[in-house]
Point group: C2
Chain length 245, copies 2
DNA sequence: GTCTATAGTCGGATAGAC
DNA sequence: GTCTATCCGACTATAGAC
């Protein structure tokens, strides 16, 4: 239930115990269990993943799960925290860059659009292109559809920030109030254009009659989203965008 | 695994058995079990829903599930078929209307856009406004994220048709080839603008700081999607749309 | 067709040796 | 910290009375 049990996580990768034999050879049991959790929870969901399967996948003992995490749910929370850490590390920089551009009053419209493209490509990459994307996204999306006690980990630490960045970006491009309902919903709709390709990838692949999205597909998706934002910001409010600083 | 066991479903609502007592008073066990499946599978997912909970929710006996559906998975398939039937009945007419407009060479751009608005409002309604929307959508979305043997029921009978309609509509408005990858992906992106509000509704409500989407929100969402399609069809190809017939 | 009782399996968590 | 053995509850499915 709580998440106060995954504090001592970032340290002691090397000193795994009293007997100093082969401590660095294999990652700590704790880390391997989190890795197994990412894979198995992502593939089958929380309920359908058994502690026995997790322990086997991690090459760990069944009792290690209650010992390290207090139980299956504690492991799930640790997995959630790990996913947020990695995703923030991957998209954080481009998000920060986009925010900086938006807050720079001297930035021209083209600068903002360039930051938009960079950010969208980063998101396409983290969601659709990387090998761990599938597991990560499946867990995040499951929590969106059917929130559990782990929902706040994803929302407060990741989704709220991503949505906030979209709001700032769209506000800068359209001149709408960043706190308005209109802009809040437009930011969600924009994110939806990306998210659907992860969520409904099985349908998309069936429709495209292929077994994975290739680089051309990913480039096309990124372009479509950027085009849509540009089109929105033109039709929505031709004013505001006082270009050429 | 198979779905050849839900054939005799549409008949015999009244003749429930040898003893003719109270056959119409309460819906047949079969129908009540499907209703329970819609609610519980939608709330908790397939794995997390037990046959005991299903039987209790339906006011039926535990043994009725293997008897009527061959097992828990058979019930799940029957639930999937039921959901597709109801959703098709609700959005089918407006989809057919939109297709008819698209195929009418005399239709003006405004006619196509009017059909678009009608269809979008119907989809917003079925996904976000109706009481059964939550259960229906949760099951459909779960199947998108983590497909099971029931996936083809949703894809072949429902999603493929909805996506196909979007392709025809966008093709008519943009002049792009309906079979092109570009248009296929644009149709998905457009659907994503709607779907995200169902999928990430927990996040959206938290961000909006309210506990349900009211009519103003729904109207705004429908308008945003229609605006985006219009903006796309203008920027994407200012040609094609030979208005005023 | 519906019920009770039960079989057979698997789930998560724990105890205690090492 | 890690392992083995085990408890106990919950699960799905079935058998057989009615």
């Amino acid at each position: 239930m709580e998440q106060d049990m995954d504090e001592h996580m970032d340290k002691d990768m090397t000193a795994s115990g009293p007997r100093g034999a082969a401590p660095a050879a294999r990652a700590g049991t704790r880390e391997r269990l989190i890795g197994a959790g990412v894979r198995l929870f992502g593939l089958h969901g929380f309920e359908a993943t058994s502690t026995r399967a997790l322990a086997t996948e991690a090459g760990a003992n069944l009792g290690a799960i209650p010992y390290h995490f207090g139980g299956k749910e504690g492991l799930y929370h640790a997995v959630a925290g790990h996913i947020v850490d990695v995703m923030l590390a991957q998209v954080g920089p481009s998000m920060a860059g986009a925010l900086a551009v938006c807050q720079d009053p001297a930035a021209r419209r083209e600068d903002v659009l360039a930051a938009l493209r960079t950010t969208v490509r980063g998101m396409v990459r983290i969601m659709l292109a990387t090998p761990e994307a599938r597991s990560f996204s499946q867990i995040v999306l499951q929590e969106q559809i059917a929130p559990t006690s782990a929902f706040p980990i994803f929302y407060e630490r990741f989704l709220k920030r991503v949505h906030g960045m979209w709001c700032v970006l769209l506000a800068r491009l359209t001149g709408l109030d960043p706190e308005s309902t209109e802009l809040t919903l437009r930011a969600f709709a924009t994110m939806g254009q990306l998210v659907i390709f992860r969520m409904a990838m099985a349908s998309a692949l069936r429709r495209l009659d292929c077994d994975r999205l290739d680089d051309a597909h990913l480039e096309c998706i990124a372009r479509i989203v950027c085009d849509q934002v540009e089109a929105m910001t033109e039709s929505c409010s031709p004013v505001c965008t006082e270009a050429t600083s």
